[in-house]
């Protein structure tokens, strides 16, 4: 039955990773930004959710919108306070802006992490389950929450797909990712598209953070590791390619879970890291990326 347990855990973890990675890859695909404060954003959302559910006693259901709101606010703050000033800066040559944005978001992430640790203490917290209880699958006892979280992940990703492929607004995201100059030539306001992207990013990442708090527990100490996982997955799948990120998320989730079960939980992240290094040496555009 270990195989079944591995499968279920892989699926659960993979779905969570997928949600976390999708936002990251969307941000790179449309805006060209690698947000190294990604993990910190998730932790902020998680903490907010925990606080609303526990401290303020509003329960699990209210914690979700609170976490989402926290995610969006953090994302917009990242855009307005950190990223946009650098993009519009006249003091920096264009070629160096990317590096400065990477460094600045890294710093910003540290700032957020420290703030969370100061305000909430740095031990990890978990939010209470949205729906408490256990379900049985053969000989395995499964918390309903775990299943529910996976469904929520898939639901969110499906909603994103619908938005992008079936709405006018979503098509502008595809357009901006494919060719920003063309968007301007066709009269679209790129600034609006970028704002929309950051809001979507905040929603997706916030949701991932809230769910994470439920499954694994979240704490400020993890923000770095979360960012690392996200970019590993995104690079493996192909920077900017959402389908690639999804596949890679499940692949990494499975690799980690299998390693943890069959070898040792200590070294769970190694296979993915090794895979990352191999890919970067031999196929830097990732699984589905283009050169």
């Amino acid at each position: 039955m270990t195989a079944l347990r591995i499968l279920i855990d892989s699926l659960a973890i993979g779905s969570l990773y997928a949600l976390g990675a999708v936002g990251f890859t969307l941000m790179f695909g449309v805006c060209g930004i690698l947000n190294l404060a990604h993990g910190a954003t998730m932790v902020v959302a998680a903490m907010t959710a925990w606080m609303v559910a526990g401290r303020l006693g509003l329960g699990g259901v209210a914690s979700l919108p609170a976490g989402l709101a926290a995610g969006v606010i953090t994302a917009l703050a990242t855009y307005r306070l950190v990223v946009r000033p650098i993009q519009q800066s006249r003091a920096l040559p264009e070629a160096e802006k990317e590096i400065f944005i990477l460094t600045a978001t890294l710093l910003w992430g540290i700032l957020l992490r420290e703030a969370v640790a100061y305000l909430f203490s740095d031990s990890p917290v978990s939010t209470p389950a949205l729906i408490p209880g256990i379900v049985r699958l053969g000989r395995i006892r499964l918390p309903i929450d775990k299943l529910l979280d996976s469904f929520i992940c898939w639901g969110a990703i499906a909603a994103l797909w619908l938005l992008v492929n079936r709405t006018k607004m979503g098509q502008t995201l595809l357009g901006a990712a494919a060719n920003p100059r063309a968007m301007t030539l066709l009269g679209h306001d790129l600034a609006r598209v970028y704002r929309l992207t950051w809001i979507l990013y905040g929603l997706l990442t916030g949701l991932a953070g809230v769910l994470l708090a439920g499954i694994l527990g979240a704490g400020s100490a993890q923000s770095g590791q979360l960012t690392a996982s996200a970019f590993t997955i995104v690079v493996l799948g192909g920077l900017g390619n959402v389908y690639g990120s999804l596949i890679a998320a499940y692949a990494v989730g499975t690799l980690e879970t299998t390693t943890a079960y069959l070898l040792s939980p200590q070294i769970r992240s190694i296979p993915a890291l090794l895979l990352l290094v191999l890919i970067l040496y031999f196929r830097p555009q990732g699984l589905l990326g283009r050169r």
Binding site: K168, Q171, T172, G175, A178, M183, T184, L185, L186, L190
Partner: protein, 490 residues
Amino acid sequence: MDALSGTELKVEGLTKRFGGLTAVKNVSFSLWGGEITGLIGPNGSGKSTIMKLVMGLERPDAGSVQIGGEETARWAPHRIARRGIGILFQHSRPLPRQTVIENIMLALLPDRLLHWGRRSEVLERAEWIAERVGLSEVRHRLPATLSFADLRRIELAKALARDPRILLIDEPFAGLTPLEVESFSALIAGFRENGRAVLLVDHNVRSVAALADRVIVLHHGELVCEGTAAEVTRDPEVRRIYLGEEADTASAKMPRHPAPPLLEVDKLSLSYGRARVLSEMSFSVGEGEFVAVIGHNGSGKTSLFNAISGFVDYAGGLVWRGSDMRRLGAAAIARAGIVHCPETRELFGPLTVRQNLDLAGSHLPRADMEAQLDLIHSIFPRLAERRDQAAQSLSGGEQQMLAIARSLMMRPKLLILDEPTLGLAPVALNQISDALDMLRKNSGIAVLLGEQNVSFALRHADRIHVLERGRITWTGPADRFRSEAASGYI
């Protein structure tokens, strides 16, 4: 150094393919010491590819490149450079953080990791070279503070420093005033006197005629003609390439009635960094008019269009339907009725034809969008067939059609078309031509066309402006172009 002679560079059967496109087809020529050769051809003729192949920046699919008798076609670029080739790029590339003299010193250094001492010798030689090209006064300044001509001088200085047996110069006189052209010509002639081989690469014969002993003409990757400047200019094949067929101007024109001006360009000037790209251009486009701006690459067409559509800053006046355009951003200008279809087409590659068109028509209410789509499908029936195909998988002609169709979805009052015929086969070209005719018949749209393909422009334009180095040098109706302006164009 004593004068060298003999074959310095020998190119034989050089061929290079990029995917399905053959950029260079079986080209053979030689350069001799003590001679200046011109390599000319319109945009897309393969000139830059040949330069890259010679410099080792690209590998040929077939053929050989011999420098001083040795086969160098597959060597690494720095090795080829050391063998004796120098290149003056089209755009100056000084190290921005180093002074002029340091930039020159760089060219004097050997490719070694350990280079102790002898710095004063290098410095002395660099100073001598700076003197020679006229940079002594500014030698301790940073490139950002220099004039355009001085930046070009740095490039020449670097070439002098390396004293290569072969020197390739891309667009030697672009952006220079007549006085500067004279002093540069003298410096280049100096290379010839020292027995070096010089290759001047440019768009038309006129720009290199004064210096070149011999001219080679390229078209569509093939060598078309070789001879002195005068011979080449008279050659009927070359005339056909640059001026198109004689028959073209006869097509029916719209009756000329006074058209209220839509776009007024008033003393427009533009510079990129230090390079003066447009100088006080003035003209206008009236409602329903078809105006063509003819010029080679580098004449300023694209910059002009970018200024009008709001992508670059400019000095001077731009008025659209009576109001000043300066405050509007690029997206706003597009929505106001001026739609720019650039040379690079800027399609959404991975998206389908339908998605490309939808993104263009998203500002319109549903009904209008459908109506516009119908119009487009009648003009470009091919696109209707390919609605669900990804834009990047379309053929060159279809991509151009999509680019134009997309612009039309915005229901522009003025359509700016930049080199629509670039890289297209004759069949596709005719389809575009027919589409433009149909467009003019069905809608009162005004068109501003930028082309180096003269026959295409002559076929459609009510009025022609010839653009050369950022200035309009001739204006008039299509039928008078050949008799009055053609010779200056080749």
